[in-house]
């Protein structure tokens, strides 16, 4: 293992620099913060899925000892609707008040906030807020939300339809299907998930009357986006009077991207009471109010030729958006989903039709992978269904259809141009790690003994390094998706990097430092990474969509390049050489090819701040800022395999092996990439086997509302993972990095479900419509298969 004194650190598994504070309990999370005069907020929430608010009586609550203030939706004057940041054509955008005014539309929809001297007093008083409800019918089932007779949720969205969207070529698919030897048709349900970052959402809002400044500490993946949305769209406070700090954040997985009701209300309320307010979500509130993920119901048809070539794919999806449009919700089941249906295959034709529907459920938005897992799951399930129909081997049929190796662009049938890929190589590596032939013969032997062993594959493509601003702007994004980096070289040659990316587990303090130490040939201990503070950092779009290394990292590299250019001028002047003759090698500026004629980095830094002998017309100081806007997405890819055993008496699925080959482009820190792949796999396996948010029909209650009811994967439910990589650098950015944060989540779910279907094949099972594959569900499938149903 490399040590911290090395400067050639790019590509090395060095230990994380952020860990010492976490392993000693000295992390700095939002709920750890305590300010003088602090008050504590509790939200009164709707216990009903859909109900009109006739009246809210706060008399008794207000009299409760310790209560400072109580506000209801009607009190929030001058506060606008929470905005939607991605507008599709003809999208219906209903009002989304931070506190519901007339109607609550999901269990957990906040209707009032109680602020008190202590958390206990706030909780006690909240119990005394009396809401007179008029209960209306709930609408929870995705496939039935747009049915005639379903209760109308928003006036602006007749039939509960938020949008209709399509991509691809419908006529080409019709044509392709005419020559297909088989057309497999399957219904595929991608169930609703809850992100469940271990740290619940929290905020502390502090208004300083003397200056008019507002500071908001919030569990955010993108503090600048929080500030922009809150100031420009909701609260009307000047942006420069607001500072948003996202300190240590305990996981996000997408759920902490969005602007939520609670931080908006606290930011407004602190200006009214002129005292700081802290709010921390309980886990129950997290289940009810953190944006959920997935929730698609799809009818898919795949047409194949007799020899297994994919001729066409037709997809009709209904995507559940929940009760309101969360910040980036419309993008997830459209541009992050339909555009990925080409997978890693040469597809004859594709058409995808998506209807987004409102329901009386928690809003749905990006959850790790966001759209891409839904696309990969669908495609990989359909390919295996196609193989079954053709009685072909599931590995062979994939090999037959891979896009051949390419280095500079592949135009898909659904708008995207992939950057670089070598899909067959990753798959071949996977087969060899798995020892595929042996696994199949072992499976055969086990079957003879009556055991149900299954092998499942998945391949995937991911669009990450989000995203070229022009492209996403043309598709409806109300934001640019560049990233900023300021690299400040201090007079002593130490370096502080101010990045717009935000680390909430990704390890940027390590990987970005590796990048800087490597590019400047300086010790890593001379580098500090600052993130998560709008008061310190120029601007930033934050961390999601596996964009930090590729977009945020490239912005840092660009600033370092500018530092070097300026340094060359300073050093050339000191050496009485021409700047054009200078190069930067091993931590010094030298005349090309003459290491003896050189000025060390530290001396150039000092000269920049003590510019006595200095080039004419050059500004003092050594600090550069860059905004990097990528020219394209990056497209990591890979192939995963899973081996399972199904207990035929109980339906219990045991994961025997999990093998993964990922290609995330160039790797900065293999240990960190492996760690992210592991965690992603666990979440993907979780979706396949255990996780699922369930609403009760009729009442619209979230019945999986605690960790007792929603099955998060535990240590004894998962195996050790066998992970390897292939490396296909992206030509999109100079670092060659593609992105690694979501790969496992995308790949794992189809691999596991395919394995379970394969295990049950001797019983005549060739498809399972609905996840998770809990023992109960699998047992029922086995019983039905045995009964010949």
């Amino acid at each position: 293992m490399a040590t911290a004194t090395d400067t050639r650190l790019f590509g090395k598994s060095i230990k994380r620099r952020e860990d010492p504070r976490f392993i000693t309990g000295r992390g700095n999370y939002t709920d750890d913060l305590k300010l003088p005069g602090m008050t504590y907020a509790t939200f009164v929430r709707s216990p009903h899925a859909h109900a009109k608010i006739r009246k809210i009586d706060i008399t008794r609550a207000k009299a409760h000892p310790g209560v400072v203030a109580i506000f209801t939706g009607k009190d929030l004057t001058g506060v606008n609707s929470l905005p939607c940041g991605w507008l599709l054509p003809e999208l219906k955008v209903p009002p989304h008040p931070p506190l519901a005014v007339d109607t609550a539309r999901y269990v957990g929809d906040p209707v009032a906030v109680v602020i008190a001297e202590s958390q206990d007093a706030a909780l006690d008083a909240a119990e005394k807020v009396k809401v007179d409800w008029e209960i209306r019918p709930a609408v929870t089932a995705t496939a039935k939300a747009a049915d005639k007779g379903a209760a109308q949720i928003h006036e602006v969205a007749p039939g509960n339809v938020a949008f209709k969207w399509q991509i691809g070529d419908a006529a080409a698919v019709d044509e392709a299907f005419k020559s297909a030897a088989v057309i497999v048709k399957k219904r595929i349900v991608n169930q609703r998930l809850v992100a469940n970052a271990m740290e619940p959402r929290a905020c502390v809002a502090r208004f300083e009357p003397a200056t008019g400044d507002l500071t908001l500490w919030v569990t955010s993946q993108n503090p600048h986006v929080h500030r922009l949305l809150m100031t420009a769209f909701v609260l009307g406070i000047p942006e420069h009077k607001v500072r948003v700090i996202a300190p240590d954040v305990g996981g996000g997985f997408g759920s902490k991207i969005f602007l939520y009701n609670e931080e908006t209300v606290c930011s407004w309320a602190t200006r009214q009471i002129k005292r700081p307010i802290r709010w921390t979500s309980t886990r129950r509130e997290a289940f009810q109010t953190d944006a959920h993920g997935r929730d698609h119901v799809t009818e898919a048809e795949l047409g194949l030729s007799g020899d297994g070539k994919i001729l066409g794919l037709r997809v009709k999806t209904v995507a559940n958006l929940g009760a309101y449009l969360s910040t980036f919700a419309p993008a997830v089941p459209t541009y992050l989903y339909g555009t990925l249906l080409n997978g890693v295959y040469e597809m004859g034709a594709i058409h995808c039709d998506v209807t987004g529907v409102f329901t009386t459920t928690t809003p749905v938005d990006a959850y790790r992978g966001a759209g891409r897992p839904e696309a990969a799951y669908l495609l990989e399930r359909m390919i295996e269904a196609g193989a079954t129909a053709l009685k072909a081997d599931v590995a062979e049929i994939r090999k037959k259809n891979f896009i051949p190796k390419f280095e500079h662009g592949y135009q898909t049938k659904v708008a995207l141009t992939y950057d670089s890929g070598n899909y067959a190589a990753a798959f071949d590596k996977l087969l060899s790690m798995l020892d595929y032939r042996k696994v199949r013969s072992d499976q055969e032997a086990a079957r003879k003994q009556g055991k149900l062993i299954g092998v499942g594959f998945s391949t995937y493509i991911e669009a990450c390094s989000i995203a070229p601003s022009k492209v996403v702007g043309s598709l409806g994004a109300q934001a640019g998706l560049y990233e900023s980096a300021n690299v400040r070289v201090h007079p002593t040659g130490k370096v502080t990097v101010f990045t717009g990316s935000h680390s909430h587990g990704q390890g940027h303090e390590t990987t970005f430092s590796q990048l800087v130490a490597d590019h400047l040939s300086i010790p890593i201990d001379d580098v500090e990474i600052v993130h998560g503070d709008t008061g310190a950092i120029a601007f930033g779009m934050g961390t999601y969509g596996s964009r930090s290394a590729s977009v945020g990292g490239t912005a840092i590299a660009m600033s370092i390049a500018k530092i070097k250019e300026k340094g060359k001028k300073i050093a050339a002047h000191l050496l009485e050489a021409s700047p054009g003759d200078m190069e930067y090698v091993n931590g010094q500026f030298q005349v090309k090819g003459f290491p003896g004629k050189a000025v060390p980095f530290g001396q150039v830094a000092l000269t920049a701040y003590v510019p006595h002998k200095y080039p004419e017309g050059l500004e003092p100081g050594l600090e550069e800022t860059s905004f990097y806007d990528p020219s394209n997405f990056c497209f990591p890819f890979g192939a995963h395999a899973c081996v399972v055993e199904v207990d035929r008496d109980t339906g219990h699925v045991k994961v025997l092996r999990y093998v993964a080959v990922d290609d995330v482009g160039t790797v900065i820190n293999p240990m960190i990439v492996d760690g992210m792949v592991h965690g992603g796999i666990a979440q993907g396996v979780g979706q396949a086997l255990w996780e699922g948010a369930v609403y009760e029909d009729g009442s619209g209650q979230l019945v999986t509302g605690t960790m007792m009811d929603y099955a998060l994967p535990k240590a004894d439910m998962l195996p050790m993972y066998e992970t390897e990589r292939t490396v296909t650098p992206t030509p999109v950015n100079p670092l060659g990095v593609k992105g690694a944060g979501e790969t496992g989540t995308i790949a794992a779910t189809p691999a596991v479900v395919n394995a379970v279907v394969d295990a049950l094949r001797p019983l005549g099972v060739d498809h399972i419509e609905t996840m998770p594959l809990t023992p109960e569900r699998v047992w029922k499938i086995i019983q039905a298969a045995k009964a010949g149903r």
Partner: protein, 158 residues
């Protein structure tokens, strides 16, 4: 009505007047001010609040402060001695057993009891013993490795 409690936390005596309903985890975090012990759920599932109470790993969200009267408590802040990391802490660092760090204090203290009971645990035993602690980042692979690392190094130290 308030109750007097007195206990030792990380070697320091603490005495306060508390409400009967005050949970030990909130006492540790809010009254004593040791924020390394985290709250990740409200149903005793996640284990982020795990501490050592008179030698036992317990979930501090499931103990009333008054029940801890007279107890000797170690939180994550008290595990390193004289600036030297405990082998379990070191193991989590060496083996990348954490990402966001939120579950880590509870994981480390659960592992502490695990290794006291079973100094040479198998992978299966480690996984089984950690069933009261949830991690959403690591997929547990490197947590298992971290505890194996600690097991090896603690054996060497004895």
């Amino acid at each position: 009505m308030k109750h007097s409690v007195k206990m030792t936390i990380n070697g320091q005596t603490q005495s306060h007047e508390v409400e009967a309903r005050l949970l030990l985890v909130h006492y540790i975090r809010e009254t004593v001010g040791l924020t390394g012990t985290h709250v990740g759920c409200d149903t005793s599932q996640c284990g982020a609040c795990t501490i050592l109470m008179s030698g036992q790993a317990v979930k501090a969200c499931t103990v009333f402060t008054v029940q801890a009267d007279g107890a000797k408590i170690t939180t994550i802040e008290g595990l390193a001695k004289n600036g030297e990391l405990h082998p379990i802490q070191q193991g989590f660092w060496e083996k990348h057993g954490l990402q966001c760090g939120f579950c880590t204090p509870g994981m480390i203290l659960a592992a502490h009891q695990l290794l006291e009971r079973y100094p040479k645990p198998s992978e299966e035993l480690i996984r089984h013993q950690l069933e009261g602690n949830l991690c959403r980042c690591t997929g547990y692979h490197n947590i298992v490795k971290a505890i194996q690392w600690a097991s090896e190094h603690m054996a060497g130290a004895k």
